[in-house]
């Protein structure tokens, strides 16, 4: 690979995730440093991805469901490593719900868990939409391959053909299972023929990802679905915890006995997509513990 490509690649790795502007600026900067003419960006990117093929790496791009902006990141196309991430029907969980899960086996206090969430949002693994946590652009990019392997059918935006998680609309007609991103529709792209009537609301989705067999033990599929997003987050947290094992010792901490309300004051305002009674959540904890063993 040319020095230009090497420099550019180093730039991408160090920036983790870049929006369209940033990545094009990076390209220009690299050319500038090496006194080279800036060539066609897409061709340039294509060449780099060609050399990355043998390493099972790829610079992928995708529109974040939040704003519809295009983002780029270097991703792993092999699903052998940090695997077990699961998609849920809703693809979103209120952060308060997530924090409740610190009660169980993981010895993380709620404040620590919140910091962990913050960190993950900063590093683009998760997205915090006013108190509701969803899969961030980095997770979506990295896990596309993996999720498709695990779950045959996934809600997919018919316009951009990427996974449709949040800010998604569903066709109202009874036989039609079309889903689209709100941003894709608004960006002036034409929707498929049938729809003038789009409705929002995950309960309207006619395609629900099949939960992994391993999670279905004593409970119904529908009861388990929201747990999956939580499980996703947990797995990411565990993975991150493993990575930072040498830096912080959060896993050795004493359990916080008090219930700490997070600093995000918006928690109470938002509708909970999951209604839970206390017994149910305790049952779920037992379920997780059972699975953990």
């Amino acid at each position: 690979m040319s020095l230009l490509n090497k420099l550019f690649l180093q730039g991408i790795i160090s920036s983790k995730v870049l929006n369209e502007d940033a990545i094009k600026k990076l390209h220009q900067k690299c050319c500038q440093k090496l006194n080279l003419q800036t060539q066609d960006f897409n061709e340039f990117l294509g060449n780099i991805n060609k050399s990355l093929l043998e390493f099972s790496l790829e610079i992928k791009n995708m529109r974040t469901p939040d704003t519809g902006k295009l983002f780029f990141a270097l991703t792993n196309t092999l699903s052998d490593e940090l695997g077990s991430i699961v998609a849920s029907k809703n693809f979103k969980v209120p952060s308060t719900e997530l924090l409740r899960y610190t009660r169980g086996k993981s010895h993380i206090s709620k404040t620590d868990a919140e910091l962990m969430l913050e960190r993950m949002c900063k590093e683009y693994w998760l997205d915090d939409m006013r108190g509701i946590i969803t899969l961030g652009i980095r997770s979506l990019l990295e896990l596309q391959t993996y999720i498709k392997e695990e779950f045959g059918e996934l809600p997919e935006c018919t316009i951009c053909h990427d996974i449709a998680t949040v800010k998604v609309e569903y066709c109202q007609r009874s036989n039609c299972a079309t889903t689209i991103h709100i941003n894709c529709r608004e960006n002036g792209k034409l929707g498929p023929s049938c729809s003038k009537e789009w409705i929002i609301g995950p309960e309207n989705s006619k395609i629900a990802p099949k939960p992994r067999e391993i999670l279905i033990s004593d409970r119904e599929v529908s009861d388990v679905q929201n747990m999956e997003e939580i499980q996703t987050i947990e797995n990411i947290m565990m993975a991150l915890n493993r990575e930072t094992d040498n830096e912080d010792e959060e896993e050795d901490d004493d359990e916080d006995t008090e219930v700490v309300q997070g600093s995000s004051s918006t928690n109470l305002k938002h509708q909970r997509t999951i209604s839970k009674e206390d017994d149910e959540s305790e049952e779920e904890e037992l379920l997780i513990n059972k699975r953990r063993r």
Binding site: K6, S51, N246, E250
Partner: protein, 276 residues
């Protein structure tokens, strides 16, 4: 490697000899094999080298040197004799893809007695034991990288502290007593025992803080684990009644690999220039 020498055929290049080795082994187990095996062996080597490259890249965020043991376990599935050949191929790939290389850290100095080598005798020659620890190092010129590669903002304060400590050690003829180090740091208003949350990444918790996460001692311990600093106990020949152990700090093997003396001199010059 001694075992390899014993099995070596006529070919002198280490790459070929390990290929030969495997070929003879497979011939023993599978009967007659055609020369086409060399190609598939080369392809297999290539595949393993790619796994090593990926391992090196993904290991980066841990910020601890990559162990040879881990490489042998995860990439070579225990076949340690393949290590040199696979490493060589991986180096070529790293250079070609990213302009980086895997560098082995120099062996740790075991003794704080720097005059041991001069005294001669059995302890005369410092036995060069390989460290078996590897770090990724950039081969691309710093000037080119300067505005392209993003600086890690979260750990920047720690890095500056490290550079300060390394500079202090350097100007003190590469060895600094711990009392002296802490004295100098005190002059910079960095006190032992005091917690400095500003030195830690923003996502570390208050719990880490309460456990002394942002203190000089913890940070120095981190630098030692990462391989940047080396702390040795001094043997007090004279006073053996004095139980208080004294320590000296030196550059760790990783610092020797990642920082050049020129870098440090530049840094010091910049700081002094600012001051005067």
């Amino acid at each position: 490697m001694v075992s390899k020498k014993g099995k070596r055929n006529e070919s002198s290049e280490s790459d070929e000899s390990s290929v030969e080795e495997i070929r003879t082994t497979s011939r023993q187990t599978q009967g007659e094999n055609s020369m086409g095996n060399t190609d598939s062996i080369q392809r297999e080597f290539n595949r393993k080298a790619i796994v090593l490259v990926r391992l090196a890249l993904f290991n980066q965020h841990k910020n601890i040197p990559l162990k040879k043991d881990d490489i042998v376990k995860k990439v070579l599935k225990g076949h340690s004799r393949l290590f040199p050949s696979i490493l060589e191929i991986a180096q070529k790939k790293l250079e070609d893809l990213l302009g980086m290389e895997l560098v082995e850290l120099p062996a740790k100095e075991k003794t704080s007695d720097i005059f041991a080598s001069q005294r001669g005798g059995s302890s005369g020659k410092t036995r060069s034991v390989s460290s078996g620890l590897y770090v990724l190092r950039n081969k691309i010129d710093f000037d080119l990288r300067e505005e392209v590669v993003e600086v890690e903002n979260e750990t920047a304060p720690q890095n500056i502290l490290l550079l300060i400590i390394l500079s202090l050690i350097y100007v003190n003829l590469k060895e600094l007593r711990s009392e002296d180090l802490f004295y100098f740091l005190k002059n910079l208003n960095l006190l032992q025992g005091k917690n400095y949350p500003e030195l830690m990444p923003s996502y570390t918790s208050m719990l880490t803080e309460s456990k002394g996460g942002g203190t000089l001692d913890t940070l120095i311990k981190t630098f030692i684990t990462q391989g940047y600093l080396l702390r040795l106990k001094v043997k007090n020949h004279a006073q053996s009644e004095n139980n208080a152990a004294s320590f000296i700090f030196r550059w760790g093997p990783r610092a020797k690999v990642e920082f050049s003396e020129e870098d440090v001199k530049h840094f010091i010059a910049e700081v002094v220039k600012e001051k005067f």
